[in-house]
Amino acid sequence: MADLAQTATKALKEPAHHERLITGEPSFEQVTNAVSRVVESKTPKAWWVLFGISSSATLLLLVAIAYLFWEGIGIWGLNVPVAWGLAIVNLVFWIGIGHAGTLISAVLFLLRQRWRTSINRFAEAMTIFAVICALIFPAIHVGRIWVVYYIFPIPNQMGVWPNFRSPLLWDVFAFGTYFTVSLLFWYVGLIPDLATLRERATNRIKKIVYGVLSLGWYGGNKQWKHYEMAYLILAAIATPLVLSVHSIVSMDFAVSLLPGWHTTIFPPYFVAGAIFSGFAMVMTLAILARAAFGLKDIFNMRVLERMNLIMLVTGSMVGYAYAMEFFIAWYSGNEYEMFAFVNRAFGPYAWAYWIMISCNVIVPQFFWSKKLRTNIAFMFIASILINVGMWFERFVIVVTLSRDYLPSAWGYYTPTFWDIAILIGSFGLFFSLFLLFLRFLPMVAMSEVKGVLPQADPHFAGNKQAHSQAVS
């Protein structure tokens, strides 16, 4: 525990002697104003437009789900052997997006990467919304929605239990833990900032709501002490989840006997891919947010560049995994294994495969160039391409099953209108939640950002001046 305590003090309080993490030399007050303004100002028109679009998409999601419940999963393009279809593709995609948030908030915190403070809060919010989007898919895919509670190990009069050896049940535990811990972590981090908003609230309703949510925070010494310890413990709990959740997701595929699915590198490969796509999503959102709300000093180029470097690393890991899969498929000497991979690259879904390779392997390699990884336009396009690629990665894994052992049964999986509607709808839900978050909660962890400003250092020259003035 002492180890953790030390890390906490260091991570939060270490003087910024290396470099300025926040540009423009703002004062504490300017940070508070810049971040709170987004919440307090009048709702901009652009927000209404965006919210209108995304909430309409959410409506589409609700309609598609309602129709699905009415008709059954036959409205989707599912077939045998592609029995999971887009539902699992979207599940894995969304849960993967969430991983960057946890990596940023927990792992980078433990690694004392202080530049994370700028993006921490909204990356975590993104995690929560992405997990919500992800959880929709297994729930609506069960077919008989009225017995969805069967996926939980609930003692019942029939003595029916889920199969504890099934990774799908492990998913229930993994997602449940992940969502709970992420939510708690996010909320604990929010408390001091909620108190700031409470203090600044201009009307009674805001005062009450932020007041209740901030749990009586007044910023006392003892409160900070407990707060930092709680934050640290939650970071330590969340860290293994970054690995475990997506490892278990990968096992949904890898424990099977299917060529192309059953391969031992899946757990670390999925984790790397998840972080990769998650960072791309954080990047997309960060670039939009910094442009829309004038937070260029907080989401500054140093932060963005480092995120690009993480994408370069994880993208290369994903490339390594693709190479290993391909090589071992050949090396195994197993003709079905070989077929599965040749079929991916040159079969009917070759177009999807090459989208995946270009977006996931080739695009991040451009970040070797300093010029490109500090170019806003380029990184914005790249981040979107990476997410397209990562969605297609899961698509390729799932739908290339359409050519299995029995050539006479070979088919072509095509998503239907309702498949696409739910995919679009899930983006709608994600962006609606995210826009609401931007509107009602501080999207940057003000208290943490202040902690990495030079003024937070007790040896800061400006402080000394103020101190000596106060003494004299």
């Binding site: 180890d3 059953h262 391969t263 031992t264 757990p267 995994a321």
Partner: protein, 412 residues
């Protein structure tokens, strides 16, 4: 009794404070201590004994030699990775141990000479080299374009070429920096490290496929390279901790490399112990679950006879115990405890390699041979001698590196 006395005397000599001296202005060794000489003697005796063993039982010799070889090259390759990482991430804390880790990787080109016995023993080590076996084995015929003697040798040469070029490039620039610092030198090292890291990932993976996985040519696992990589890094970290602690014990490193650096090395050791377990568990679980005979046989072999005991001990001893023993902060900051854990992790690493390679040699059960020890001592002695010779030949730290001061004052 006699031997105990000698070993006590050796221990005394190694630990005596007056053994090694470092000039505090130039950071050069005025007294290099006798570690190098001891290592050389151990190495020569070990190799000579192993040569006798070769005449006695060449099959045993080659397997023992392969394990020992891989064990020691792991330290050097881990050091190469550490240096590449140091430059790529512009790490500041590790500058003070950069010369130490550079010296460790400087052994790589010499390891090319030490791999020759493995090449000579290919016929005994790898049964895919037997033409009569391949002739009746469809799977091996399929793999023949990869698993054949000329290509194997070409790959060995290629791996060593890549590793040696990277090593030379980094060490040459490091030497240039010792004369006069220029920012461009560090920039160049970073530039080499970027493609170097990519090349390292693939060469290490394929080297582990070639040298270890192909001992069972039917078996395959996509995670194997990553699993071996975790072990490689563990070896290097443990060895570094030992060498740092050794010099601290001599008083040579006081105020240069401190408990803070050891603490960080300990944290990395802890992290990669978990990483190793994660990779090993992923591999095991997926193979166990799918239960495909073409994969499970590898684990079933390790469930035969006394191998079963080792298979049960390995995860507990290589992961469970060190997880608990390295978790508390005090454990990583206590010099003797961390030293003991570093030795222990090297032993575990050896056990892991033994468990991977040896069932091919003696499928019926563990058949521990004195040659396992003599080859370890032989290659290890030469390794440490070469490493120490390089290390003590110049300054113990990169004296002109602008990051040195930050590193020496590093606090966790």
């Amino acid at each position: 009794m006699q031997s105990l006395k000698i070993s006590l005397k050796v221990k005394e000599q190694i630990l005596s404070k007056e053994n090694m001296k470092l000039d505090r202005n130039t950071y050069k060794f005025t007294d290099k201590g006798n570690l190098g000489n001891i290592a050389l003697v151990v190495g020569i005796v070990g190799l000579a004994a192993s040569a006798v063993g070769y005449i006695q039982d060449s099959h045993q010799f080659y397997f023992s030699y392969l394990v020992a070889f891989f064990f020691w090259i792991s330290v050097a390759l881990g050091a190469l990775f550490f240096n590449l990482l140091h430059h790529l991430t512009r790490a500041s804390w590790s500058t003070a141990i950069r010369k130490l880790t550079e010296s460790m990787m400087s052994v790589i080109p010499f390891m090319f000479v030490l791999i020759i016995p493995v090449l000579l023993g290919m016929h005994e080590l790898y049964h895919w080299t037997h033409e009569d076996v391949v002739a009746t084995d469809l799977v091996l015929q399929q793999k023949a374009p990869y698993l054949n003697i000329p290509f194997f040798i070409i790959r060995v040469v290629f791996y060593f070429a890549v590793w040696s070029i990277l090593t030379f490039a980094l060490i040459k620039n490091s030497a240039r920096q010792d004369i006069k610092h220029e920012d461009s030198i560090l920039a160049r090292m970073r530039k080499y490290s970027a493609p170097g890291m990519m090349l390292f990932a693939f060469t290490l993976t394929f080297a582990s496929f070639d040298w270890l996985m192909s001992l069972e040519p039917h078996w395959f696992s996509t995670i194997f390279g990553v699993y071996i990589f975790c072990g490689v890094f563990i070896s290097m970290l443990a060895f570094t901790i030992i060498m740092v602690r050794y010099q601290n014990g001599q008083g040579a490193f006081d105020g240069i490399v401190t408990v803070e650096h050891r603490h960080t090395l300990g944290k990395l050791l802890f992290a990669f112990t978990i990483m190793w377990a994660y990779m090993g568990f992923s591999q095991y679980l997926l193979i166990w679950y799918a239960n495909l005979p073409e994969e499970t046989f590898w684990y079933l072999q390790r469930w035969e006879g006394s191998w079963r005991t080792l298979s049960i001990i390995l995860p507990i001893a290589h992961f469970g115990l060190p997880f608990v023993a390295l978790l508390p902060q005090a454990a990583k900051r206590n010099g003797n405890w961390l030293l003991m854990m570093a030795f222990y992790m090297l032993l575990m690493r050896y056990m892991d390699l033994y468990w991977i390679a040896m069932p091919t040699h003696s499928p019926e059960g563990i058949n521990y041979s004195w040659m396992d020890i003599s080859t370890m001592a032989g290659i290890g002695g030469i390794f440490i001698w070469l490493f120490w010779r390089k290390y003590t030949s110049g300054a113990a730290v990169p004296v002109n590196d602008p990051g040195l001061k930050v590193s020496m004052e590093y606090v966790n």
